[in-house]
Symmetry: C2
Subunit: 414 residues, 2 copies
Amino acid sequence: MSALNPKRTVAELKELRSLTGDENGAQRVAFTKTWVATRAWLRQKLEALPVEIHTDAAGNLWTTLRGESDRALLMGGHMDSVPNGGWLDGCLNVVAGLEVLRRIHAQYNGKPPVTVRLVDWADEEGARFGKSLFGSSACSGNLDLDEARGLKDKDGIRLPDALKEIGVDFERVKECGAELKHAAAYLELHIEQGPVLLDLNLPLGVVLGTFGVERHAITFHGQAAHSGSTPMNRRKDAFLAAAKMSPESYRIAERHGGVCTIGSCTTKPGIVTSVVEECRITLDQRHLDAAALAQMLSEAKAASEKFAREGNVKVTWERLWQIEPVLFNPRLIDLCDEAIGETCGQRHRLPSGPLHDAAEVARAGVPTVMMFVQSLHGISHNKIEDTKEEHLELCVTAFDKLAEKTLHWVRSPT
Amino acid sequence: MSALNPKRTVAELKELRSLTGDENGAQRVAFTKTWVATRAWLRQKLEALPVEIHTDAAGNLWTTLRGESDRALLMGGHMDSVPNGGWLDGCLNVVAGLEVLRRIHAQYNGKPPVTVRLVDWADEEGARFGKSLFGSSACSGNLDLDEARGLKDKDGIRLPDALKEIGVDFERVKECGAELKHAAAYLELHIEQGPVLLDLNLPLGVVLGTFGVERHAITFHGQAAHSGSTPMNRRKDAFLAAAKMSPESYRIAERHGGVCTIGSCTTKPGIVTSVVEECRITLDQRHLDAAALAQMLSEAKAASEKFAREGNVKVTWERLWQIEPVLFNPRLIDLCDEAIGETCGQRHRLPSGPLHDAAEVARAGVPTVMMFVQSLHGISHNKIEDTKEEHLELCVTAFDKLAEKTLHWVRSPT
């Protein structure tokens, strides 16, 4: 019996939810007892297949179905969640990957033409130590060991000590990079975590890559002055200049097709009877194209300087964070598009705002693509995160078709 | 010897500064020991003249030079300051008024044609209990007793208990309204506390009245959303709508000739990775004309609703405070203008942004005018508050001329 059973995936996801969630949502925070229990549950399911299972140097869990070739098709996800998280974020692609493994095993009588592997990345969310993509960035080689070595949780426990508890030697985590030696393709299915597919009334979409991010604090420096006695044309109003950045950031995003967010604004002295002396805003800009992102940043800087000049104030910038965009593999994007079209007739390509383990695998040079399934409410990292059951079944079907197409592409790259 | 001696006023102001100030500025906070010492110093100067001195039911200090008529010319100011205040704010007009009293006494051999009175209002600043114009609003009848009864200082001491310490019975403070029985005119000299005269390079100006004030908190209610996964056209960005209010408030002020200030802005959740769900700004609008002020408020409300609609957010308004404009007496404005013209050749009329005791006296129906002298830096309520000595001397001369003109007008109103 080689038939895929998407309904079984939905049932297993529900089983996992009741095992690892409570009234506040999913509690599969990495390196906790619940997470260890989650992996034990997963391992027990996997062991029903004739696969090899091991944990690598960074705590990532690898399941390998040996094929006729060492060249490997990888599928990956993460069983860990944020505290009070959603039931699908991360585990959907591991549980769906398990079903795909079952189908491939059955169809090829235990010996597919290429090796097929499923990985459960360790600590994708970074909920406890504030550093996301731990296991996948150790594997890609991008993890900054010096930075990670000093990370502590809220109880003051250091990341290296927490890792020791689960048998991982922090100083050796990058040795897991060897796992990618024969990797020929990487596939990841995920809930969208945004409203794009919901708005378009589409169940599935192909992900083109993950956004690059430029994150800055912008501070305008004016002069405090009495609200009653200071004529309008004498003011050095830091809020006026900062406020002009908001509609301008929308114009910049529109011109380039990216996104810009001013998420916070603080004012000093911040009292009703004084012109604002100092106003600090944060600006988060994202784009799939590195050149467009650089242009968005440059235009925001120019605008801030123009508004500062107009208002006779000064402006200073401070970079808070930055990451390059990661583009997925064109051929795999086409295959994913085909799989989706064959499954539900409607196709759509979209970028990913949030980061994913897939970005790390792609940065390591492995041809990669992701598939998104619609999120109800467009919301995740919250107990109300949800996806229609019919969409969950569709995504397992489409992801399986993508795996099959990719398996053939890995065997004979075109 | 009947000559006015403006240099003596400057010397007395300096004497007062050294007696009641420190390296952080003036410390004549109402109802404190330093304030009591200030009044003792003033009283000793006044007692050199054949005047009657008494404290009224609200703690205001009245000095009366009886004239041939009971009809009275009033001059007033306040000896109290904010903590770390300027050396001139308030006391300038009391000390200058003392010099004018001396000149009138000398010129009319102790019996001017009308009664001349100098008042030192109690607690103009409201620095300790957060309620300004205490003594003058008790006298005008506008003091809200129920509100004032509950006021506490930062140590939890109630206003009525603090007043008892200086011999004032809180429940009887409004009885001081009788002091205005024969009042025929009220004159007040003050530093400008703003940059208008400084910008125009003028020493003196006639004050047309005090601004009416509309003070509101405006809250925009949007929806938090992920900065990476939420398309720009899906956002309900509370900050965007609030930000648009800033340039709009400048346009409104320009159209009507008033002033508008957005002094504070707070954002929730206020994090770099989320669209702003809730944004609260404060708006302070001021105008000398009640109808124009009402129009400014109405236009700000309409704009906020337009911006809310455009951004798919909601807006709510909360009134924080409001006061009507107070217009000074046209005849006294003309007399003040003449006095200034005769003193320094250049005339200018301007409104007052900050409130003053003069507004309360005017609201009680007494014909009133104020004269402003230039403030260096356009700044007050700060130890750097200052005015050129030559301007201080000019203002004493001009204020004396105004007093003399008003004395004749009080005797024979025209």
